[in-house]
């Protein structure tokens, strides 16, 4: 699992209000070289949660990313190379992702995170994520 993926995932266990970012527990980290594509990174940058990336990189043993970043830094190739390395070249091969609220571990085996929930963790209602607002809904049917 690369940090690119980590940046997209959250714990969607029932009742968890803030399942992002998942804490990384690294057992085995690999580095694999990937072709550098600055345009891809520039497009992706506004969609990244920067702090989660910085913390994630640190958990994988890479501490070169600045604490804060803004779009003006995308002009610098040095910066883009660092983002590229953190986002795409570091792999969590074995380990786990931990829900920040419940401590539930999502195992990562052979580079693939297992995000499936147990039967009693499923949310019966998923709040639409992209809104930034919260909606409280009373379930009138059976639960």
């Amino acid at each position: 699992m690369r940090l690119f993926t980590h940046n997209m995932l959250s714990s969607n266990i029932k009742g968890v209000a803030n399942g992002f970012p998942l804490r990384i527990e690294a057992e085995q980290v690999l580095e694999k070289q990937v072709d550098f594509n600055p345009d891809f990174l520039r497009n992706l940058f506004p969609k990244l949660e920067w702090k989660a990336l910085v913390d994630g990189a640190r958990a994988l043993g890479y501490a070169e990313l600045p604490e804060a970043a803004d779009s003006s830094m995308l002009e610098s190739e040095e910066f883009l190379r660092k983002v590229h390395h953190a986002l795409l070249e570091l792999h969590l091969e074995e380990g786990a992702l931990t829900c920040p609220e419940t401590g539930r571990k999502f195992p990562v085996n052979k580079g693939i995170p297992n995000m499936l929930l147990h039967e009693d963790e499923e949310t019966s209602l998923q709040l639409p994520g992209s809104l930034g607002s919260h909606m409280l809904v009373r379930i009138t049917g059976k639960q």
């Binding site: 993926t5 969607n12 992002f20 693939i112 499936l116 039967e119 379930i139 059976k142």
Partner: protein, 447 residues
């Protein structure tokens, strides 16, 4: 300019849609004009298409799966005499540059629906002597290629030889490449397959330079495959393609995306598990298995390594989840390309495809798989943003599916419709109750 577009004679319904997708990808913004040459049936492999330039024609032909070639048409006729007349009347200024003395050329005789002997081929070529070729013949590596194409007399079969029946054409790599073309996959794009399986769709997308990402509820095929050198990762390695950016085990019914994440994929391409061949699965199930509504509580000592149970995933719910995912996660103008099953009754196919306020249907191409059902490749483009209202409606619908779980399962059970024994016609009885009684007993393994 009008070009002759010659297709391979298969997947007839997919052919024009693919060319249209590729033309748009290459920057041809107005919709393409097509027409059929005289005496040709729509199923014919010969079509005339109006393209802005030879470069566009060349690029489409190079990228396309179903185009055999795109040609500048110098003349046509139903006899060699008519052909001669037609070639002679084609403008000289279009012809002369390709007949000049410093060029090399070759004439190939091709036929469709009939065979032409070597001797006849030579005669045909000699009959073209009225064309003032000045260049030298070079059979190996000519600058200019001419083709003389002959088709059979059009009578039976709409004048066409039957499409070669290839059994078990349920999945072929060709189709994966076609889907990638419908999705306009290009270098630097991010492509997602929520039902990745062994990754054939992503291999095609990676071949065209995209970054790829896949998920599946059953990750065994992905992670383990048939050993260390026979799984998705090795699939990519053997083709020398960059590995997927991410593979994860996740349920499309309960996707693990963080709040706020949206508009990240350029295309979503998939062959959802509709329960005809491979049954779809989603999280849940055990509670229904025992007839208990309350969720199964996993004992604390069994939490590590617990394998959550799964339940069948109905067609309607699967499509709903897919459209919701695509509406949220695709960039504007991004494409959703997926297969949708259609039951064929008395050879009539209902052309009612899923709709969504954020999407416009661009193309639908049918492939008949059996006398009972077809699959249709749908290409949708995202034209509206994922608003609060759309999200809310999706959430309510999601909940409805949960509550009417068993009922929905009945609605979406394609497997029994396709594989059940034929039962007597219902006649005029359309009462839903009597239909239900006649519903076939045979069920798939998981239903």
């Amino acid at each position: 300019m009008w070009y002759l577009c010659v297709f391979f004679h298969r997947l007839l319904d997919y052919r024009r849609a693919e060319v249209e997708s590729l033309a748009e990808m290459l920057g041809v913004y107005s919709s393409l004009e097509w027409r059929l040459p005289e005496n040709q049936h729509p199923d014919s492999p010969f079509h005339l298409v109006n393209l802005p330039s030879e470069d566009v024609a060349r690029n489409i032909a190079n990228r396309s799966i179903l185009v055999k070639g795109i040609y500048e048409l110098w003349g046509e006729g139903s006899s060699l005499e008519q052909l001669e007349e037609s070639i002679k009347s084609y403008p000289e200024d279009r012809k002369l540059p390709y007949l000049a003395c410093e060029t090399t050329f070759k004439v190939t005789v091709d036929s469709f629906g009939k065979a032409i002997s070597f001797q006849e081929q030579n005669d045909r070529i000699k009959s073209l002597a009225y064309i003032p070729f000045k260049g030298r013949v070079n059979l190996k590596n000519p600058d200019i290629n001419f083709w003389l194409m002959e088709t059979d007399d059009y009578g039976a079969h709409n004048g066409l030889p039957p499409v070669v029946q290839r059994r078990n054409l349920f999945w072929s790599t060709e189709v994966a490449f076609l889907m990638a073309n419908q999705a306009q996959v290009m270098p630097g794009k991010l492509v997602y397959d929520p039902f990745v399986g062994t990754g054939s769709i992503l291999v095609a997308a990676a071949h065209f330079g995209a970054m790829t990402m896949g998920a599946d509820i059953d990750i065994r095929a992905v992670r383990d495959g048939r050993g260390p050198d026979c799984n998705v990762w090795s699939n990519f390695k053997q083709y020398g393609l960059p590995l997927p950016v991410a593979l994860l085990r996740a349920d499309n019914n309960l996707p693990p995306w963080r709040p706020g994440l949206k508009e990240i994929f350029d295309a979503i391409i998939c062959d959802p598990p509709y329960g005809v061949r491979a049954g779809g699965r989603k999280s849940g199930g055990r509670k229904l298995l025992k007839g208990i509504v309350a969720p199964y509580i996993v004992p604390d000592d069994k939490r590590t390594g617990h394998i959550p149970s799964t339940a069948p995933y109905s067609l309607a719910e699967c499509v709903h989840d897919l459209l919701d995912l695509a509406a949220r996660m695709l960039v504007m103008g991004g494409r959703l390309v997926y297969f949708y099953p259609v039951l064929r009754e008395n050879d009539v196919v209902e052309n009612h495809f899923p709709e969504h306020p954020c999407f416009k249907l661009i193309a639908s191409s049918e492939q008949i798989l059996s006398s009972r059902y077809s699959r249709v490749l749908l290409t949708m483009v995202k034209t509206g943003s994922y608003t609060e209202k759309v999200a809310e409606a999706a959430t309510i619908k999601h909940q409805e599916f949960k509550e009417n779980y068993v009922k929905r399962l009945e609605d979406g059970n394609l497997h029994s419709s396709v594989f059940s024994p034929v039962h007597p016609q219902l006649g005029e009885e359309t009462d839903s109750k009597s239909c239900k009684e006649l519903k076939p007993k045979y069920r798939g393994k998981y239903v």
